[in-house]
Structures are given as structure tokens and as C-alpha cells.
Symmetry: C2
Subunit: 214 residues, 2 copies
């Protein structure tokens, strides 16, 4: 069974998961503070990270476990809008994007795939959530599919009832403005069993598991 | 830096980590109830396990992350005592021991190594904790060393100040008798920062990280 999973989705106390304007200098808009607690070093596991093994790191480390493909919104790939400018942009990550799997970038402007030596290939597709998920599931070869964000694309999949697992991280700060994670999401939580723990750092982790459908 | 890590060390409310008598039928003595909460399926990560991703499973899944060798006490390998009986015993695990790395079995009765196709090799050594750790560190090739238990061997390493990380799982039952984890361990906890969370199942997880030595 291939699951559709969301990991390390960070949200402020007042419900914002990203800033308003994504630019080259500000990949997540003006919401940089949201990510002050996040340790991206452990996304492929706690091994090799010379730092204490905390509850936060243990849960962030779920990101890479058993994942065969990712789907991401266009803004997670780059700050451009409209037709691609032909500026040689290859994503925020340099020569070694941390994915190591096929990645499907949702865009209304398809372009040729971008392949990296470490196993990451970006495919640019104009597709509905359902179509994107079908392609990603095929590419995942029996492993799970990760929805990589940003918040607007995760919200679309949630509204369409396509998310099996969601790791939400509530950060104890108020942002005041930005992209709301749960806009028009009345009742989405009703379909999940939600386990909540708070770690010593003050983060609240929620693990949403979709109830089996009967 | 190679760390020495202990994972999924289960202890009852009254401090027992195993039953008194280990036999062929009872690998952990009469303490089977202690392991009713433990999901060994996730020790190599939550991927591929068709079950909800809970806090318990996320933390049990740390077991295999970044590990290059294990050290275990003899009773974890088998129920025999004294000289090996030549009964063809190859451990509790059948043809695919879940380790996939070199494993150093502490015994006063060395015997030839046992090699399995999946990368597990059992070495039987008569060694002090320090010597065993030196051999295992060498074999781990830059990854971490796991102390696999049982409780008596973990206790020896704790008393010798050789444990960098310990994941302790307190199970809300009282056993009344068995092997005490912390016999003669006055003050061992003083050297650690300890983070505690309780999951929805009622388990209490403690992550002990050794304070940096100055």
C-alpha cells in the first residue's frame, strides 16, 4: 500500500505556514522565524548528526523514511511566476537536492525534466491533485509518496481527501499574516485520528492518521 | 564521531527490564507483558509498515538509523549458559537476523563467527565493555554503535560511563520481579540531559543524551 504523507508542516499559533511574498532572498516569504526550531539535517535519519537525539529531531527524521517520490507546489521549487524566464534556475538546493527520488512540480507551465546525479529528478507537470498523485505513486515503486508543500498545495490535497498521514508542527509564535494553512478546510480534521505531544523545546507535534475507510 | 546508543530499552514502573529466567520458550523470561506495546516492525523506519504512524512507532524507528555495529549480551543471543552445547543454535532470529551489521556477542566462551547473507555477522568475544566498544567502533566504519541489551549488559556500560544516548521506554505495568535495570546505578542519570514525553498509548519515552564533557 502506498500512502500519501506530509511531513514537517510547520504552522504558527495563529495558523500561518508561510509568509506572503516568496522572493529569491526569502524562500518562505517573511516567515523565516517559523523555521527557527526546525533541524533539516535529520530529514534522512538521526544517524551521523552530531547533536542530541531529541523528540523534535526524532519526528523530523520521519521525512525520508520509506519515500519513493515527492509532489511539490511550484513555489517550493522557485520564486518565479508565469512562464519560466530561462534563467537557468535549478531549484533552491544547488547540485544535491535532498530528495533522491522523482519529484513532481505542479505548474501551469510544463518544461523538460531536470535530472541530478544523486537520484533526484524534477518533472514539471500541469495536473490535478489526483493526476499528480497517480503519476507519483507509479514512480514511487511501492514506497510512499510525500507531499512536500508549500501550504497551499498541501491544502488542496487535504480538501480533495488525498492525504493519508500528516505531521503538523505547531510553533509557539504568532506571525500576524502570511499564508493560512487551513483556509476553507472545515471538517478536514474529522477524518483523522490525531495524536499530540509537546516536546521540551515548546513545539507541539501532531500526527494525523487517516481513519480506515469502511 | 561514533556514538554509543541504546534503543527501545523497556522498563516496568517498578524498574524491571526482563524476567528472571530466560528459556527457549521465554526469550525474555517471564516478562513477556513488558513487550506488549512494542512494535518491532518499525525498527528500520516507518516506511512500508501498514499501520498508523504514531509517536511510539516514530521513536522505536530510531533503532536502525545510522548504526554500523551492535554489541549484545549473551542472553540476547540464546538461552544457553556455560560452554556452547554444539546444538546448531544460530540465535533467536532464523535466517534473517534484523541487524544487517557486525554484532559482537559478549561471552566467556568464544566460538567461531556466524555469518548471514543479509549482512549480519555474529562475533563471539570475551571482552571488557571498553574492549568490546573498541572492536565495535572499528567495525562500524564511522557509523554509531548500538548496545542491544539485555539490561544487565546495558547496565555494565552505563556504570562504565560508555553510553552516549539511551532511549528508555517506561511501560505502565508493575512486574514485581525480574532483572532490575538500575541496580547499583546511583548517580548515572546525573551525566545526562533527559527529555520525557508521554504518548497516547500510555508509554513514557525518555531520551537521555550525555552532556558534553568539558
Amino acid at each position: 500500500m502506498t500512502r500519501t504523507r506530509v511531513h514537517n508542516l510547520i504552522v504558527s499559533l495563529d495558523g500561518f505556514s508561510a509568509g506572503e511574498y516568496v522572493t529569491l532572498e526569502k524562500p518562505i516569504g517573511d516567515a523565516q522565524r517559523l523555521f527557527g526550531f526546525f533541524d533539516g539535517r535529520v530529514i534522512h535519519g538521526i544517524g551521523g548528526v552530531d547533536a542530541p537525539v531529541t523528540v523534535d529531531r526524532s519526528l523530523f527524521a520521519l521525512w525520508g523514511q520509506g519515500i519513493g517520490a515527492e509532489i511539490m507546489g511550484r513555489k517550493k521549487f522557485g520564486p518565479q511566476t508565469g512562464a519560466w524566464p530561462g534563467d537557468g534556475w535549478q531549484g533552491w538546493w544547488g547540485d544535491e537536492p535532498p530528495f533522491g527520488t522523482p519529484v513532481f512540480v505542479l505548474t501551469h507551465h510544463p518544461r523538460p525534466a531536470l535530472e541530478f546525479a544523486n537520484g533526484t529528478t524534477f518533472h514539471f507537470i500541469d495536473a490535478t491533485p489526483q493526476e499528480a498523485l497517480r503519476l507519483a505513486t507509479q514512480a514511487a515503486g511501492g514506497l510512499d509518496v510525500r507531499l512536500g508543500g508549500g501550504p497551499s498545495s498541501v491544502r488542496q490535497f487535504l480538501q480533495a481527501g488525498l492525504v493519508d498521514f500528516l505531521h503538523l508542527v505547531v510553533v509557539p509564535i504568532t506571525l500576524g499574516r502570511g499564508v493560512r494553512l487551513f483556509e476553507d478546510c472545515e471538517g478536514v480534521s474529522d477524518h483523522y485520528d490525531i495524536e499530540t505531544v509537546t516536546s521540551a523545546s515548546g513545539l507541539t507535534h501532531q500526527l494525523w492518521n487517516r481513519r480506515s475507510q469502511s
